[in-house]
Symmetry: C2
Subunit: 206 residues, 2 copies
């Protein structure tokens, strides 16, 4: 748990608000409300107002939120008003997909380094990137000052690769391996697990 | 938004509780508490107790929760005490990864059908599965009575494939394409979007 002023769970909802605002912007919209955001996201309008109020005053009673302004503010709060460099470790199916993913653009991230331990992959290219040897991960990640990594290695390698990433100075790890990994306190871990999403839908099935 | 007794956001937390309980079980644990669950998940103990109380009484004051019993109850509530058949549409990098994913076992899901529109892929095998033509998706999904699909097609195809899946009787779609899709009211959609996870970690970076 975070020992900070704003609860982790509130921080976790801000990217949802930001994505929805960016989609509204693409739709040519200019103004929205906590009610409309809430309907799109399945979160109560009161919760959204309470979450946002932790960071300041972003809207006026009766006139709602300027989509541009609130987008800018959320990008600042989440620190994605800059572009973060990201390393991908494990270039199997998921790693390939991440290296080619079009969804990072304009959202604060770009992949800069790929690693694998398979001699047949090392030196090969995925798009514009060359796959590097995992043997060089600590040196290369440290030199490039990369603070974010996506981990898409087999379960058996997940913890040892995590240890290397932490040693290299990585502060945030997005883990696709279906296993929990241990990290020291200042490092954050998030998990991508399709089953969590599937299970919240079966609740509604007969 | 769901017009049901239990808020969507509460349902969304139950799979997190279930996964944590199953990990505790693998660690050989027998009993836990809302405090311990909360610490592992970054959710307050009070929130966890309140969430669970919407479904019944699962623990005793002072003695905590039986991990086995609460696991069974959550599997029933989420309807994953059975195995659901799942179709995967779009067998690129992500689709391949899903078809081979080891994390579905014992969690309520198994993949049974794969589809793609690429003539070079149709008829090929991924593990034990043959890739079928998207032209047959409505017929095959309907005949197999598959209610859950994972969508890993390019953005430009996402909506038209969604329409086919809905026509075939699919009730839950897990969408990997970085675009919102429109579905009629009884169909549920969840999104896998790595950027949402990355952005909630950059908040904590300097």
């Amino acid at each position: 748990m975070e020992d900070r002023l704003v609860p982790n769970i509130v921080v976790g909802r801000l990217p949802l608000y930001l994505r929805t605002l960016q989609l509204m912007n693409q739709e040519g919209r200019r103004v929205t409300s906590s009610q409309e955001l809430g309907e799109r996201l399945g979160i109560s309008a009161a919760q959204i107002r309470k979450d946002l109020s932790q960071f300041g005053e972003f809207g006026k009673q009766g006139t709602g939120y300027s989509i541009d302004y609130l987008t800018d503010q959320l990008r600042q709060i989440l620190k994605v008003n800059k572009v973060w460099d990201v390393a991908v470790v494990g270039i199997g199916d998921v790693g390939h997909a991440l290296a080619r993913y079009q969804g990072f653009a304009n959202r604060g991230f770009r992949i800069v380094l790929l690693f694998d331990n398979d001699p047949q992959k090392i030196g090969a290219k995925v798009g514009e990137f060359t796959i590097n040897s995992i043997a060089d991960v600590v040196k290369m990640v440290r030199e490039a000052d990369v603070q974010i990594a996506m981990l898409s290695v087999p379960v058996v390698y997940a913890q040892q690769v995590t240890n290397l990433l932490v040693e290299a100075g990585v502060k945030s790890i997005l883990n696709y391996a279906p296993i929990n990994i241990a990290v020291p306190a200042p490092v954050h871990v998030q998990y991508i697990d399709p089953v969590l999403h599937l299970q919240r839908m079966t609740y509604y099935l007969d």
